[in-house]
Amino acid sequence: MSARLHEALRDLAEEAPRTDLTDRVLAGARRRRRVRTVAAPVLAAAAAVIVAAGATLAGTTGGTPEPVTPANPPRTGIVNDGPLPPPLPKRHPEAITSAFLDHCKNPGGPNGKTPRGDCAQWRLTDRSGRQWRLSDGTGTYQTRVNDYMNGRGPLEISADGRRLAYYRADEQRFVVRDVPTGRVIPVRYPAPLADLLGNYHDLTFSRDGRYLAVSPDVTTTKRAVLFDTATGAVVPLPDGQLLGIRADGGVALATPRRGDERMRKATTLMLTGPDGRVLSRTTLDPRTELGTTGPALSPDGHTLLVRMKTRSMLDHAFADVRTGKVTRRLRLPEKVAQVAGSPTGWVGPTQVFTGSTKTGRGDASGEGIDGLFRITRSVIDLNTGHETRMQAFTLRANQIAFVSGGYLR
């Protein structure tokens, strides 16, 4: 190598911006995934054949859960170092706060070696830190195509931790489980296992856990729906990125303009009523963009957390979903801007809940993903930038899936 030219190029490269693009990348990826513009009936048909021929289910044991014997906390302080915890009892009085898959700690994650058996089930952590397995849900399922492409059953935890939404492979449908009572409410939405292949489904609870939105991937023609757990009603939703569910069952959605799928130029905001009909349409202030990968709609049902299109990742704003106009600008402290900009949920009108994941050794140094994952659950005040840590714990795995909830008491 030419040492002098290399050195000169290296010096020049040091002038590159030091921007953290994580938030932007995930937001962009999620938009591409959520905005349903492509139909792929051929893919769906092929998937159905493949599943029928060779699907192998893991993480579904069925039957009656074993007696409750919570696992002892592991000595290492790493929550999945100990023995596998018992199944979640039929009735459990405590709120569920986290769920994760460690894919049986297989090298290469779920695609390296297929997770099988109880360790492939979703693991749940309650507010006391005790762990359980979700034995009637699907954690990881495997459907090999050219030796790759595994799938995962989605799972969502309500804001109060009293409800779980997940996929039951035995019944081939989504269900909502009321944790304290053990009542299981089937979602009237066709969801054969073949639909889960390559079509990730987002599950989103309303703040009170009454409504559940099921949003399939961009590669399917299936409509997103809103399910009312109180009445059993299922309402189809317009295409778009779900921004949040209002208390009355109406939803806020964002849609791109034609030819602007990444919503860089203009974003249309829509509000629907409880029947799914569009009540209003407006354009989001062009100085802003939807930076969030989580629910952008605050509990008041009309305030959106958006990002200003400035060079700084710290500049955010509140906008009114009914008018699209900025109502207040926010500048978040650097250390919380990224996670606060993509909340998991809202604790109050200006307080967001976040569940962030950081790798320990390994990934940052480029040595691979093998290592430790540090999970931090926090509440961040958008007015002050003050962060209140609720819980932090560590997982050991090659790859994890992580879901956070149960942040309201």
Binding site: M1, S2, A3, R4, L5, H6, A8, L9, R10, D11, L12, A13, E14, E15, A16, P17, R18, T19, D20, L21, T22, R24, V25, L26, G28, A29, R32, R33, L101, G108, G109, P110, N111, G112, Y148, M149, N150, R152, P154, Y200, R262, T293, T357, K358, T359, D363, A364, S365, G366, I369, Q399, I400, A401, F402, V403
Partner: protein
């Protein structure tokens, strides 16, 4: 979010390195961010598969270079842009000064074609062999070598003052 497991960590860990390469390719901080972001958003839907293949960074780098070369081909967005700086100064600056040398090199790189820039960055910044560069850019080894020679010749023509920087690269270019 489960579908993008590890993507956030990848961006945190490898994003700075990708941005440095993108900055050399584009010569502009905003365009570098744009290039890295658009590359990662494009690969995100295939993230699980990419991770399963075992070397996500190699995949992303390949996508980055191709996005750079093909993006320019489609839209001309990485073409030459107006600049307040006069391209020819009439005399050659003192290249003993590293800061000046860096500025001159940056200015000269911007006047190469995207593919020529990509070849130089891969060969002399990332220290890739001609074969590796060919694989990454999806072209033949012969194309890499010819592009390298043309790029170096153009640099010498544009900035004769960089000659001492380029003196020892001819042999390397054939590696």
């Amino acid at each position: 979010m489960a579908r993008y497991d590890g993507l956030a960590e990848f961006v945190v860990g490898r994003g700075p390195g990708l941005l440095r390469a993108a900055y050399l390719l584009t010569g502009d901080g905003h365009l570098a961010e744009d290039l890295v972001q658009s590359t990662l958003v494009k690969v995100a839907p295939r993230w699980e598969r990419i991770v399963a293949a075992g070397d996500p960074e190699a995949y992303v780098r390949r996508a980055l270079y191709n996005e750079h070369v093909n993006g320019w081909r489609r839209f001309g967005r990485f073409g030459e842009r107006p600049s307040a700086a006069t391209p020819e100064t009439g005399r050659h600056p003192d290249h003993a000064d590293d800061a000046v040398r860096t500025l001159v090199l940056a200015r000269a790189l911007r006047r190469l074609t995207p593919r020529q820039r990509a070849v130089l960055v891969l060969r002399f910044y990332e220290d890739r062999t001609a074969a590796e560069t060919a694989r990454l850019l999806d072209c033949s080894v012969g194309t890499v070598k010819s592009q390298t020679h043309r790029a170096l010749a153009r640099l010498r023509l544009l900035e004769p003052g960089l000659a001492d920087l380029l003196n020892d690269v001819n042999v390397e270019a054939n590696r």
